[in-house]
């Protein structure tokens, strides 16, 4: 009796957890809202391309090794319509980023906020939710 009831309640949990998936966009199939990432480094390459714009950032770890992050933004057309210009993102410039890591490859991340050395900040271009899912 108690086991059966427990099974029913366990089923309840599964259903509730799976329900919001119906409303997710394709962001969630590639990137993990539960893996927020951030870093500061130097822009090594900018691809003003479709279907997604990409900014590559070299981050030097405390031990001296360099990790290249491949940050995905929205479509280049969306980014341009937000008012960004190629001059705003130059290779060699210092940049900080926040985003969500790839489900399999953390360093392939959806960028949700990019902040330049002069303080200008671009946010919300990745398709990421504005806060990690509960």
């Amino acid at each position: 009796m108690r086991a059966k009831l427990a099974a029913v309640i366990a089923g309840l949990g599964v259903v509730i957890v799976s329900a919001p998936v119906l409303a997710h966009h394709s962001f969630a199939v590639e990137y993990d809202p539960k893996k927020p990432v951030e870093g500061t480094g130097v822009i090594s390459k900018v691809e003003w391309t479709n279907p997604h714009m990409r900014v590559y950032v070299d981050v030097t770890e405390p031990n001296g090794t360099v990790t290249t992050w491949n940050l995905e933004l929205g479509a280049v057309n969306s980014v341009l319509r937000r008012g960004w210009k190629p001059a705003d993102l130059k290779p060699g410039a210092k940049i900080s980023f926040k985003g969500y890591g790839g489900r399999k490859i953390l360093q392939r991340a959806a960028a949700d906020a990019l902040t330049l050395a002069d303080g200008r900040s671009f946010t919300g271009a990745s398709g990421a939710p504005d806060a990690p899912a509960k």
Binding site: V15, I16, E30, H52, G74, A75, S78, L80, K104, D130
Partner: protein
């Protein structure tokens, strides 16, 4: 035992109501979120501009020039078309197939065309051509359709050919009914999904779009969806498009340029070997 059954029923009922609330909440949140938080971004005209009058062509017909955003399905054709959950009369095989499809496998993510009536957050436009003989073919151009795909709407009274090779956009003929542009399309292939849920269709699909610009900024699409292969009866859906701010233009969008979809999550391209199209023949799933 009876007590257990009652408790189970109560728990199941409670669960279903929670699920319904969650879905409703998620849908509302989706609509409420500003564009900047849902990734892609296409601005639309202010309310002041949008409520202006419908512009007219020299021949008096409505000028359908946008560019437009929306006006079709994207995440869920049933919900976005104005139906309640479960109201789309899918045949059992089609429902089974939809429920088995995963969003991560939608063909559109591999740069294939969206098909009809699908649109996404990117803009599109009507181009009403004028020739030496007067109004000519009307074109629908999609910024990301894919890519920059053009639909031809023949307005010269021709019929659909009998021997159409199924295609992503089908064969479209149009006519004006007062101020409404009516587009009748057949000849679709079965390779695109009607939404990212995976709602399927067959090559028997027949669509009728009724586009009416109701103000400067709004255009409705009364959409008849008929597919004896996938639906038990024709169904009537309704979508609405919004105009972009004056001066907006479509931009170039070449999807295959740098599509790295799937790498970050190691999602396999299930179409590489078998190609696009229905995963099973409808009769096998009956």
């Amino acid at each position: 035992m009876k007590k257990l059954a009652l408790i189970s029923l109560a728990v199941i009922g409670f669960t279903l109501s929670l699920v319904a609330q969650e879905q409703e909440r998620a849908r509302n949140a989706d609509e409420r979120l500003p564009a900047k938080l849902t990734g892609e971004f296409t601005p639309t005209a202010s309310e002041e501009i949008a409520k202006g009058p419908v512009p007219r062509m020299p021949d008096g017909k409505p000028d359908l020039h946008g560019p437009w955003v929306g006006g079709g399905s994207n995440s869920d054709i049933e919900m976005m078309g104005g139906l309640k959950a479960g109201e789309l009369p899918l045949l059992p095989w089609a429902k089974k197939l939809r429920d088995s499809r995963r969003e991560e496998d939608e063909p559109y993510l591999y740069c294939t065309p969206m098909g009809v009536p699908r649109v996404n957050p990117y803009p599109w436009n009507f181009i009403q051509s004028v020739t030496s003989k007067g109004p000519g073919t009307i074109y629908i151009v999609h910024e990301n359709g894919d890519a920059g795909r053009i639909r031809h709407i023949y307005m010269d009274g021709r019929k659909h050919p009998d021997d159409l090779l199924p295609s992503w956009w089908g064969h479209s003929i149009g006519r004006w009914e007062k101020d409404t542009l009516v587009i009748d399309t057949v000849g679709y292939n079965d390779k695109f999904w009607m939404d990212s849920r995976g709602t399927p269709h067959t090559e028997q699909m027949h669509t009728i779009e009724r586009w009416t610009r109701t103000t400067f900024g709004t255009m409705t699409n009364d959409f008849t969806l008929d597919d004896p292969g996938a639906l038990s009866r024709p169904v009537q859906l309704k979508f609405s498009a919004k105009v972009m701010p004056p001066g907006s233009e479509l931009m170039e969008f070449i999807c295959t340029e740098n599509n790295q979809y799937g790498v970050a999550a190691d999602i396999p391209n299930i179409y590489r070997d078998k190609g696009f199209g229905l995963e099973v023949k409808p009769e096998e799933l009956k």
